[in-house]
């Protein structure tokens, strides 16, 4: 128990307090906030961003960044949708989309690991590339008329909890196990801590770097499938700006952009903070023009709360 407390103190004090304060304020400010229905809604709303943010956490832990996730999301959704419109089994179509997502990530990873290019530049390039491919593939038009069975994936519930929330929970649990219980996870941290030390200790650094971008691509793709399923269509412009939401969630969760430091639980808290802010501002009927400004301020405040401790070192 004490170890848990000290871990909370060391890593997620700021974000966690921020989240609790937010929930506390909103619970008093509006009666609708702290109800099962609304909290379920918040969880559903964050699921897409949270999935991308899990992949982003892997990448950022290695001191990288993946700006292409929004485009990967759109590309995979379009491919899944097109296949389903062509009467391919939704499971197969989804599998194909995930494969493409993994391939997109592998491309990023190869450029970063084997060509030695800066992750920011590589994924900035592929972000535009993947978006362009999506537009070519869809001819710039949304794809409608997806099978009804597919819509059930994004809109259905299991034990009163939306299926995307289950998916999110499963992905978090699996990612947690990988990061904290396996040699792979430890090596991801080691690479971010000091790539040179990891290489000299025999860690196959390049393969792991490709690996984290593949994870990021697959999870972006999964997020794309969920999004298409919820909307009932795949839009070529889906996911624009999602990379920034994911990065925000990761950073809010206390993960260092320099790599090697940060936690998955922090990322979950970060995604929850973002979702709670959006939800709360809507419930409070804040003019949508003001929403972004307020959101920005709250994010800055939350990060300040977290940085206070490290500044004192």
């Amino acid at each position: 128990m004490q170890r848990i407390i000290s871990a909370i103190k060391r890593y997620h004090l700021g974000p966690l307090i921020g989240l609790v304060i937010l929930i506390f304020i909103l619970s008093f400010a509006t009666a609708k906030f702290f109800t099962f229905g609304n909290l379920r809604n918040v969880a559903l709303q964050i699921s897409v961003n949270a999935l991308i943010a899990v992949g982003m956490t892997f990448v950022i832990l290695t001191a990288g960044i993946d700006l292409s996730v929004g485009s990967t999301l759109a590309l995979s959704a379009a491919i899944a949708a097109q296949l389903m419109v062509g009467h391919i089994n939704p499971w197969l179509a989804g599998g194909a989309a995930l494969f493409v997502g993994g391939l997109a990530g592998a491309l990023n990873g190869v450029f970063v690991a084997y060509a030695g290019l800066a992750p920011f530049i590589v994924t900035l390039g592929t972000m535009t590339l993947f978006r362009g491919l999506t537009e070519i593939y869809t001819n710039g038009m949304p794809i409608f008329n997806l099978p009804r069975a597919f819509a059930g994936f994004g809109t259905g519930t299991f034990l009163a909890i939306p299926i995307p929330v289950w998916v999110m929970a499963l992905v978090f649990a699996a990612a947690w196990v990988v990061l904290y219980r396996t040699t792979a996870g430890r090596r991801v941290y080691a690479i971010g801590g000091n790539e040179r030390v990891a290489f000299l200790a025999g860690v196959p650094v390049k393969r792991y770097l490709v690996g984290v971008y593949v994870v990021s691509g697959i999870l972006a793709s999964l997020a794309g499938i969920i999004l298409a399923s919820r909307l009932g269509s795949a839009e070529p412009t889906a996911g624009v700006g999602y990379e920034l939401d994911a990065i925000t969630a990761v950073v809010l969760g206390g993960t260092s952009l320099m790599g090697g430091e940060g936690t998955l639980i922090g990322t979950l808290i970060g995604a929850l903070i973002l979702g709670t802010i959006d939800n709360g501002l809507n419930l409070l009927n804040v003019n949508s023009f003001y929403q972004d400004a307020v959101k920005g301020l709250i994010i800055l405040a939350a990060i300040m709360l977290d940085r206070k401790k490290s500044a004192g070192r």
């Binding site: 430890r186 801590g193 200790a201 025999g202 430091e261």
Partner: protein, 495 residues
């Protein structure tokens, strides 16, 4: 005469006492060396003097007047300056701009930097330090020694009365060290009081008037340099008499472990050597002679252009450190902070890094096995820590080095390559590393040791290869292992 006095200084961090009633004095025009093993409390004492930390007890007085130093600024205002071991300079700016930063106010005309004035002042300062470079040059173009002089010049600009120098010669060549000592003497003549911290005992006899020794956070003694010996200082420092500085053990070498035949990489050529089980082989040479590069070739970091490495009769094809580790060759690099340790990570995590797959099942880390590994090496190497969960960045240099060595010994290597294994660590930790090398030798393992510390290299090795300009110039064994013979080979001559 001004006098700086620290009396009864105590300081504890989260309950652990790092300083207990320490007394220290330095007068103007005097050089006092502060000596102690890593962790003895030297840096904490100096951080209290420079206002970084506040003492829990005790007082600081200057000229008999009690002073309270709450901030770094307070210390600066009283004329206390410090030159840190790690340079705090901007390598991307010019020499002159390095002087400018922090003192912009003095070189400002209507809000613009008055560069002519800056260059004039900086030139004058550089001249007084005998630093013959152009102030407009980029700092990164200067040698480390010259950069050190820039650092000294910066502190001189702010009228220091007391100057702390923390291991100022650790990165300097011999010529640069001589120049530094001239400057120390000049400062002394100008009436500056100097606190000199160094692990190199022979230096203290050249610069210091008195030596104050700390051990385990306590004041042990202050002795005039003229009345003491290296041996006495060492025993004051470690609290016992160290009989032999280099405890060499006789042993009979066994079978050949590794043979390198005509290795050629980008940096070395025609390097052939052999290491047997149960021997410590030294690899020496001047800086840049290719010593480290041989180690890199043997441990799979640099790829071979030609030549071959034979291990116990089998030819090795090393493509990466990973393949060298699998073959039983490990390298303790000279740069433990950037190549040896994941500093913010725990001792446990660092000790397990190269052997992680041995401590896992189906990719899952067996936490118990990992913990036992950590306990084992902390115990065997006597790593001083209260817990294996401590981050390695909080350990002293000697203990950090032990963690690095421990993580490699956990691989059960047949050949251990040590590159500068005792650099920057204190006498006590050095002795422990020597003992450890001897233990490995008696267990029948092969050790290849690279060191710039010539007495250490000749004292600990059974035989020594000497390098010159990327190749092996010769080998010394037995009675030939003398400094003169070594230097002849290292400079390209014959034995």
């Amino acid at each position: 005469m001004a006098q700086l006095e620290m009396k009864g200084i105590s300081k504890a961090f989260s309950g652990v006492k790092v300083l207990q009633g320490v007394d220290f004095q330095v007068g103007s025009g005097e050089v006092v060396a502060l000596l102690g093993e890593n962790g003895a409390g030297k840096s904490t004492l100096m951080k209290i003097l420079t206002g970084v930390y506040q003492a829990d007890e005790g007082q600081i007085s200057i000229d008999g007047e009690a002073r309270v130093l709450r901030t770094i600024r307070d210390a600066q205002d009283l004329g206390i300056g410090m030159i840190y071991q790690e340079l705090n300079l901007f390598s991307n700016l010019s020499v002159a701009e390095n002087f400018l930063i922090g003192r912009e106010g003095k070189f400002k005309t209507l809000g613009f930097v008055n560069y002519p004035l800056l260059y004039e002042k900086v030139s004058a300062t550089m001249e007084s330090l005998n630093l013959n470079r152009n102030p407009k040059e980029r700092l990164s173009d200067l040698s480390v020694g010259e950069q050190q002089l820039v650092e000294i010049g910066k502190s001189l600009q702010q009228e220091v009365r007391f100057l702390i120098m923390d291991e100022p010669t650790s990165a300097l060549s011999k010529g640069e060290t001589d120049r530094l000592f001239e400057i120390v003497h000049a400062l002394k003549a100008k009436g500056v009081g100097i606190i000199y911290i160094s692990h190199r005992l022979e230096e203290l006899f050249r610069v210091a008037d008195r030596v104050t020794v700390l051990r385990d956070g306590r004041f042990i003694a202050t002795v005039p340099t003229e009345e003491t010996t290296e041996r006495e200082l060492v025993s004051l420092m470690v609290g016992r008499d160290i009989a032999e500085r280099y405890p060499h053990e006789q042993s009979s070498p066994g079978e050949s472990i590794l043979r390198a035949e005509k290795l050629k990489t980008l940096a070395i050529r025609d390097v052939s050597l052999e290491i047997k089980g149960g021997e410590i082989v030294g690899l020496g040479g001047l800086m840049g002679s290719g010593r480290t590069e041989v180690a890199r070739a043997l441990s799979g970091i640099d790829s071979l252009q030609s030549g071959r490495i034979v291990m116990e009769g089998r030819i090795l094809h090393l493509r990466s450190p990973a393949s060298a580790i699998r073959s039983g060759i490990v390298l303790v690099t000279e740069d433990r902070k950037n190549e040896g340790l994941l500093l913010p990570f725990t001792i446990r995590e660092n000790l397990a890094l190269p052997t992680l797959s041995q401590r896992s099942r189906l990719g899952f880390i067996r936490r118990q096995a990992e913990g036992m590994n950590a306990q084992e090496w902390v115990g065997k190497l006597r790593i001083k820590t209260h817990s294996v969960e401590q981050a390695t960045e909080n350990l002293s240099g000697g203990n950090q080095q032990k963690v690095v060595i421990g993580k490699w010994l956990a691989c059960k290597p047949k050949l251990l390559i040590l590159d500068e294994p005792t650099r920057g660590i204190d006498v006590g930790a050095k002795q422990e590393i020597y003992q450890l090398m001897n233990r490995l030798k008696l267990e029948g393992r092969a050790v290849l040791m690279i060191s710039s510390d010539l007495p250490e290299l000749l004292g600990m090795s059974d035989r020594v290869y000497v390098m010159h300009e990327g190749t092996i110039q010769g080998e010394l064994q037995g009675r030939e292992m003398q400094q003169e013979a070594f230097m002849r080979l290292a400079t390209g001559g014959e034995v």
